[in-house]
Every structure is written in structure tokens, then in C-alpha cells.
Point group: C2
Chain length 267, copies 2
């Protein structure tokens, strides 16, 4: 009787509790590091003590310490460099880039869905950048646009500046959360784009559009920037042939098959 409401909470709100992620020691490490970060002792780019030493300090085995560090590294909070040390991440924040492609494989993400997500995100990002961007950002954007025009003949290089341009807009938006999300989504598309770009034919047009976006942002025309960005991405999507299938019969494969119950084993 009471088990009913109990199970309900447990099954439907799997994230209410501190997660089933890890166990004592691992969380101990994570929380310790979290504390160090929150109280400012640890800042982006800093190096943490060597494993042996750190483990001794936390009174846990090196193995457990490593589990915790690995957890943090997996989430992009720390960067491990073999033979050098472990550092607090400092680059553009991301929510575990690798995760999206894995989870994507698991849940069957489609390319058009990535574009849809990207359009929704970058539309707003462009508008916000137009409202809040600073000279610093404008300068860097301008620079990347110039680089794009300069590398029209070298698709691989062009793509780098393309990505950089969008990343700067994300930063200029003044919302690191959205920037992190965009970073996650786009990075999972990078590989695919790198292949497609090679046979691209209209990089010039693409560069033009970037310049227009830049101009709109510079003169703080949010609506214009937003519309241009959307137009740009839709064009990119078309170029990559990733339109959403007109009216798939959506066999509910994903939603229905997952309902049953967490079946136990299987070899």
C-alpha cells in the first residue's frame, strides 16, 4: 500500500536522490574536489596533487582516488595528462562531449535532430550575442570571418574558423550554460562535418553569411542576427542532406519498447 507511492517516487524521479552513480569513496573524492573548487582553492588550470600524495591526504587508497578523479575527468571537470599531472579543466566548458555520441547511439539520435537542436540554441545565442556582445567579441568574430574568407580554398581550415566563430558567439551571449550545451551538441557533429566539408562547393556563400551575422551582431540587431543564424544553419543542414524526413510513421520504437520493466539479465 505504502509501497506504491514509494515506488512511484523512486521510479519516476530517478534523479531525486544523490544518484546511483557512485559509491562512498568516489563521491568522497568528488565532493572534496567540489569543495575545493567552490571555496576557490582550486581554479581552472590548476594542477592537483599527485595521486599518491592526494590519496594519502584523503586517507583512501590510490585506486579509489583514481576512480573519483576518473569520474571528474569523464565529466570534463578535469584533464589528465599522462606523465605530467592532473589539472582542473580550463577551456570552454562542456558537458561530457563524448557522452552525446554514446547516448546518441543508445537512443538513436538522428542528424536532423542535432540540427534542430542546434538551430534552436544558436538562434537564441546569436540574439543574445547581439544584445550583450562586447567589443572584444566583435573583434574576434571579425577576425574569424576574415580567416574564413582566407581559407575558402582549404575546407579543413575553413571549418576550424567556422567552429571558432560560432563558439565566440556563444561566449558573447553571456550565458555559459547555453554555450556549454551548444559546445556539446556541435562537437558531436564535428566529425561528420569534417567529412562533408571536403566536397563543399559554396564556402564563399557560407563565409558571406557569417559576415552578415557578424554585422548584425555588431550593430546589435538581435532579431536580424537570430534570423540570419537560423537561415545559415538551415542552409548548412540542406547542404549536408540532413532534413527531417517528411512524415515518418514513427513506429514508437523508442518510446514503447522501453516501457516494460528493467529486465534482469541476458548472458
Amino acid at each position: 500500500m505504502l509501497s506504491l507511492s514509494f515506488l512511484k517516487d523512486l521510479l519516476l524521479m530517478p534523479h531525486t536522490a544523490p544518484d546511483l552513480s557512485n559509491s562512498h569513496r568516489t563521491m568522497h573524492v568528488v565532493n572534496h574536489v567540489r569543495a575545493l573548487i567552490e571555496n576557490g582553492t582550486l581554479q581552472p588550470g590548476d594542477k592537483i596533487p599527485p595521486e599518491r600524495e592526494f590519496a594519502r591526504a584523503l586517507k583512501i587508497s590510490r585506486a579509489s582516488l583514481r576512480t573519483g578523479i576518473g569520474y571528474l575527468a569523464a565529466m570534463g571537470v578535469m584533464k589528465i595528462r599522462h606523465g605530467v599531472g592532473t589539472f582542473v579543466a580550463d577551456g570552454p566548458p562542456d558537458l561530457g562531449k563524448a557522452s552525446l555520441s554514446l547516448i546518441g547511439a543508445l537512443h538513436g539520435f538522428q542528424t536532423w535532430q542535432m540540427f534542430e537542436a542546434r538551430i534552436i540554441l544558436e538562434r537564441s545565442l546569436a540574439a543574445l550575442a547581439a544584445e550583450r556582445g562586447k567589443e572584444e567579441h566583435h573583434a574576434r568574430m571579425s577576425e574569424e570571418v576574415a580567416e574564413m574568407f582566407a581559407t575558402i580554398e582549404r575546407p579543413a581550415d575553413y571549418l576550424i574558423h567556422d567552429v571558432l566563430f560560432h563558439r565566440i558567439i556563444a561566449q558573447a551571449s553571456g550565458n555559459p550554460i547555453l554555450a556549454a550545451v551548444m559546445e556539446t551538441v556541435t562537437s558531436s557533429m564535428y566529425d561528420k562535418r569534417r567529412k562533408t566539408v571536403e566536397r563543399a562547393t559554396d564556402l564563399r556563400e557560407s563565409a558571406e553569411m557569417h559576415r552578415e551575422i557578424y554585422r548584425a551582431i555588431r550593430v546589435r540587431k538581435a532579431d536580424e542576427a537570430r534570423d540570419l543564424m537560423e537561415k545559415h544553419l538551415r542552409m548548412a543542414q540542406t547542404a549536408q542532406g540532413a532534413e527531417r524526413p517528411a512524415d515518418r510513421k514513427v513506429s514508437t520504437t523508442s518510446a514503447a519498447a522501453r516501457r516494460p520493466r528493467p529486465r534482469t539479465a541476458r548472458s
Copy 2:
């Protein structure tokens, strides 16, 4: 001279390479699991072999196997249950919920930024749900709205159905990527909300708004659903006193201080 362009790529495109995340064995495990997932051998909810056995199969030590599994678990791809086994995640996909709060602490995410992100995401999600939602979703949404009205006197319970309602919309949007992103963002706000909700006074009004949103989605009025959702969230934001400070002087603390160089150590 050439080192310049070289460094540029390395520093500005930290995700070009296979990431500096982990080492041989760990990646070996990750790739192996990825392969199993992609070829359909492993599906959501499935249990993977016991560590000892799996490790032997991959010809690596149990410790390394555990590192890899830990990596996957950290990203939300797998769920580990002590004393039971390790399973492929099956719930609503998320990009490492814990990561956002950690990365948030690291980069100083603000509450208003979370709301901003949430508004941008859910606006679109509501619109998409209106366009693509199925009867199944409508039914479940309706149910949650009813539950909300029924639990107006119990904020804690109300919040559960509130979250559920938004989650169903995300599913109804037909874009699991956006749903996953939203899940990640909202879950990091859950704790805060649970505290705020206790002293909430106008849950009735909140419930009304949810019903309106539901109706708009049901009759497939995308624009209306989008606007109502935005209105709803802005109201929630105000209730939680998380407006964006009018014109903070943005001391560039975050952007400027991180420039220098990856300073080496610091005890």
C-alpha cells in the same frame, strides 16, 4: 613559425583529437561497449557481464575494466548497482546531470542563466510538442495536470508532477537531444526548487498555467504553447527571485583571468 599554427589548433580546438580524456584500456572498454550498443547487442536496460568475467573476456585487468565502466557510468550511459550488477541506462537520457552543477561551480553559473537556458529550450520544446505530440502524450500530460491540482496543498508532491509534466512535453517534442539537454539543465535546478516550493503560495495559479499550456499543445497551437510556456517560466523565475541583475559591471573576471597560460603547479 609553424609551431604557431600548430599550437593554435591544439589550444583552440581541444576536441579535435580523440580527447585527452583517458588512456588505452579505458578507451578500449568504452569503444567495446559502444560497438555492442551500436550493433544492437546491448540495449537500454540490459545487464552487462560481471566485472571479473568481462575483464577476462577483454583480456584486461579488472581495475582497468572498472575505470572504463566508471567512465561510462559518469556520463550516464550505464547505471551501477552495488551487489546487483551493471546495466545500460534506460531512463530519460541525460548528459551527466552531476556535471552541470560541478561545471557550474567551476565557471560560476548563475541562477538567472539557468532560467534563461531553460526558457529558450522549453519555449521551443512546447512548440514542437504542439506540432508533433501524440494522443499518448496528451493523455499523460492531462493526467499530470490533474495530479497537480490534486496536490496543491502538498508542494513537495506538486513539484514532482510539475517536473513530470515538463518531461512529458520534452518527450512529445520528438527530439530526444533537446529533451536530454533540458533534463540536464532542469535537474541541476531541482534541489533549489524543492526548497523554494515549500513556501510557495500560488500553486493554484501555476497549475492553471500548466493546464493552459496543455490545452494549447493538445489543439496544436504551437505559437500559443510557446508563448504560454515562456510566460510560465518567467513567472516561476520571478517567484524564485532569480532575475538577471539589471546591468552588472561584468568585471570580465571569468574571461580575462583565464587567459594567461596554464600555470603549472600550486601545491
